[in-house]
């Protein structure tokens, strides 16, 4: 009898907790400024293809040193935004996923081989691939969101990924760090090859 009562009181407690600790219903479209910013911020960091390519930009910049380490993160957001603008305007751009995968392969290979082209060439390569990344962000803007805050969210998230890459790239001053960076570049290139395979399947 006592054990029944104990079970009953536990069940009662459980029921009270379930009914009284209300949770937000997430079955409807989330709207509003804060949500738009959060969705925009989460977009670049929710896909490994974007994350790895952005971090690789920072790594490559760190390998190249000044002024490239600053030039690349400075140029990238603006060119990416041009791609985003095309996506928002609905301009068709075939092969976006292929371009994103190619960016991971090429940037990863650049870090792996520690190639040092002229700064203008490096900036042009990064800018070219930035268009594909921006286009994907722009084209995938969820309906009903605040365009400005979504945009600010994904621009800031992209910048943070660059900053992570640059910060990690600071180990380039040590010999073991240079080897580790090249290894990381190889990893990014391999992941890019996987993304490319997935883009065709």
């Amino acid at each position: 009898m006592a054990s029944h009562m104990r079970h009953a009181s536990r069940l009662l407690l459980f029921a009270i907790v379930v009914f009284c600790l209300e949770q937000a219903l997430s079955a409807h479209v989330q709207r509003g400024e804060a949500v738009s910013f959060r969705i925009g911020f989460a977009h670049p960091i929710s896909g490994w293809d974007h994350v790895l390519a952005m971090v690789a930009v920072g790594l490559w910049g760190a390998q190249l040193g000044a002024p490239a380490v600053w030039l690349l993160p400075l140029a990238f957001p603006m060119v990416m935004a041009m791609g985003g603008m095309l996506g928002l305007m609905g301009v068709p751009m075939p092969g976006t996923e292929i371009g994103i995968a190619a960016s991971a392969i090429l940037l990863g290979s650049a870090v792996l081989s520690e190639v040092r082209p002229p700064y203008v060439i490096a900036a042009a390569v990064v800018a070219f691939f930035a268009i594909f990344h921006g286009y994907a962000h722009g084209a995938e803007l969820p309906e009903g969101q605040n365009g400005l805050l979504y945009s600010m969210g994904f621009v800031i998230a992209t910048g943070c990924l660059h900053a992570i890459g640059i910060s990690f790239g600071l180990i380039h001053r040590w010999l073991w760090g240079q080897q580790l960076l090249r290894l990381a570049g190889g990893g990014v290139a391999l992941a890019g090859a996987f993304f490319m395979w997935r883009a065709f399947h």
Partner: protein, 204 residues
């Protein structure tokens, strides 16, 4: 049996009472500040990125240029915003998305490029930005009496924000820290470009 049950029952009742009487807040709607129109105006600026970001971008630009430019921005921006707001409150409506887009693009590019603007040019830019954004604020704030108080709140907050940002940026000496400010400018310009794309979104 009752004696044996008492601790569990008391615990259960205590937890139930705590849960029932300490519920999570239902945040289904916004609360006003409750502090009057001046603070409502300040809150409006803080919660409107279309106005706040260009004002901060201008402060960044003035800070990059130096102390004299910073002083000019500090006084001209709130004054122009206030004047524009009063003009907007009198004139009626005049809201336009193009103003925010242009502000983001122009100021973002100037900050990113660390554009060497003269004091005269920066002052003119500040006055234009303040007047146009203030005009839009004033036009959307109802009767001129109420709008004026809110505009004073906006102008006061602009003064404080500009002073803080300019003072922070002027003191930056390390090259990397100034570059970080320029990166912020590129983010602002990028957001402006995306706003332009959003304005041309086919099914917006």
């Amino acid at each position: 049996m009752l004696q044996r049950l008492r601790p569990a029952a008391v615990t259960t009742a205590a937890i139930a009472l705590w849960i029932v009487f300490c519920p999570a807040r239902a945040e289904a709607h916004l609360n006003s500040t409750g502090l009057g129109p001046i603070y409502d105006g300040a809150a409006h600026l803080l919660l409107t990125p279309e106005d706040l970001v260009p004002a901060l971008a201008l402060a960044l630009l003035a800070g990059l240029r130096g102390v004299r430019h910073g002083r000019a921005a500090l006084f001209v921006l709130p004054a122009a915003w206030l004047l524009g707001g009063i003009a907007g409150a009198v004139a009626g409506h005049g809201e336009s998305r193009a103003v925010a887009i242009a502000s983001f693009l122009v100021l973002g590019v100037f900050v990113a490029a660390d554009a060497p603007l003269s004091l005269t040019l920066l002052t003119a830019l500040t006055a234009s930005l303040g007047f146009v954004h203030g005009f839009q604020n004033g036009a959307g704030m109802g009767p001129p009496g109420v709008a004026a108080q809110a505009l004073f709140g906006i102008a006061g907050l602009l003064f404080v924000l500009t002073a803080l940002v300019v003072a922070f940026v002027v003191e930056l000496r390390q090259p990397w820290s100034r570059i970080a400010v320029r990166v912020l400018g590129s983010w602002i310009a990028a957001s402006g470009l995306l706003m332009l794309g959003w304005a041309m979104h086919p099914i917006r």
